[in-house]
Symmetry: C2
Subunit: 287 residues, 2 copies
């Protein structure tokens, strides 16, 4: 089950992993990523993991020696890692539980505490300890105001629809992706007259052309990419998604990777090769 | 100037419109929409306007008889209305000032109070009094947490960049558009296997296909469209923008308006003709 579980409220404490499993919060008693990728348990994990209450950086599973706990192989985009990545793509809410063993100010004193719904707002990979590949997820607590509860109209459809349409959906309509803009992004878009640097597309609306500023090295934790012209591309919404989600990258000579062609680069737009490389190494998906 | 004005703080009171103009908050002493469309003053306006503090529904300018105040002609997408619409497209922040004459619990006792930055998260048109066209804007208060302050890296670019890149941008990187999802939208996307019903495009990412659920009759105030299969389309990000911003619409026979072709409609997806019509009448831009 995705999202809220009937009978379970944020803040509920469970004695152990079995109780957590039995309540439907987290499928499975061993893994950090629950069945279906619908939930995670924070209980110590990786040294680089971050717990800032409303912001979590979580490392995927796999590649660890069960005895020493050390990373001995690359992680793979399969099973729990892939399920989480799919939820990231769809923006589905993830149930987060903190275990007492978690070294964080937010860990419960004992047992396991269900801490509500988060969404994965970012997903990337990096070389962790010993140069081995790990997948990482940034989760943001879903605020009640991010969940729009639209009125449910009577349905007259013939096909099978999710049970949620018969009852008010538990999580309503929730935020999955936030498009940002800035004065600097507007400047870059003006250089290209809102033409997509990857596809050349132009979106015309009655109120003017529309394009999106895409930060090459992502802003926000933990990448902390700057909001400067060197770190921005003017892209169509489609290309912005494909670039952000690792389907497309740009080589140092501005040829495109993942699709044919070249990035359009204007002489007044100095793009940082360092940031392009960072994107290739952390966002663009290998293979 | 777009965004914050140096020396002006949210909550500042100004004696009159001249003082507001002189401080740089709102260009012009008569109009509700300020110079450049960078600001608005709420002071009574239209009977259907809404002031719920963090949410404002504001009617555009024009078409009113100066003596009676009654609407006597259609409004046009020009001047202030068009400038606001462009800021909507770019997601630029709008300075909002409340005047004492405003019939709202949030109006100041006297004078004009600068109430901070809002963004226009929705824009449409409707037939107001006497069947005449008015443009309407929904504004949402920008929360500090919506503004990401990325670190500014030293810039080495040659072309002229906005002064903001030399100093930390006053408004940082701010939210312009929020993509939402829901269990019902996932159901509709599954029907089409994430294929765009307008363009037929499929976006493949390493973590699965990506598409967006588009509510035909928008959710949220004041349209209150439901989150049901009849009110959803599975669209690519590009088509979602063009549909939401009124470049494309769908006729009752599912032919496309604004681009050639037809909407792909699966037999298990009953789309409401009422909602398509609502979209044509309120979102799709005439001419």
């Amino acid at each position: 089950m995705i999202g809220e579980v009937p009978g379970v409220t944020e803040g509920d404490i469970f004695r152990d992993r079995q109780a957590l499993h039995d309540a439907g919060v987290h499928g499975g008693v061993m893994q950090g990523i629950g069945g279906g990728g619908n939930s995670i348990v924070l209980s110590g994990g990786y040294v680089d993991d971050v717990d800032e209450n409303e912001l979590i950086i979580y490392t995927g599973q796999g590649g660890r020696d069960p005895n020493s706990g050390r990373q001995i192989a690359d992680q793979e985009l399969k099973r729990g890692n892939l399920q989480l990545a799919r939820h990231y793509t769809e923006g589905n809410p993830i149930r987060v539980t903190r275990g007492h063993q978690l070294r964080s100010p937010y860990a419960p004193e004992s047992g396991y505490r269900y801490d509500g719904l988060y969404r994965i707002d970012h997903f990337w990979h990096e070389q962790g300890q010993d140069g081995l590949l790990v997948y990482r997820y940034r989760l943001i607590k879903i605020r009640p105001t991010e969940i729009v509860q639209p009125p449910t109209a009577p349905t007259s459809h013939q096909g099978a629809a999710p049970a949620g349409t018969q009852n008010p959906p538990r999580t309503g309509v929730y935020t999955v992706r936030v498009i940002r803009n800035s004065a600097v992004a507007n400047h870059v878009k003006a250089i290209y007259q809102h033409r997509c640097q990857i596809s050349g597309e132009i979106l015309e609306t009655p109120a003017g052309r529309y394009a999106e500023g895409c930060h090459i090295k992502p802003v926000g934790r933990p990448h902390d990419g700057p909001d400067t012209v060197e770190n921005l591309l003017c892209l169509s919404p489609n290309m912005h998604v494909l670039f952000d989600k690792g389907s497309i990258a740009v080589a140092d000579d501005f040829t495109l990777i993942g699709v044919p062609g070249n990035l359009e680069v204007h002489q007044d737009h100095p793009i940082s090769l360092d940031y392009l490389r960072y994107h290739r190494e952390h966002i663009y998906k290998l293979g």
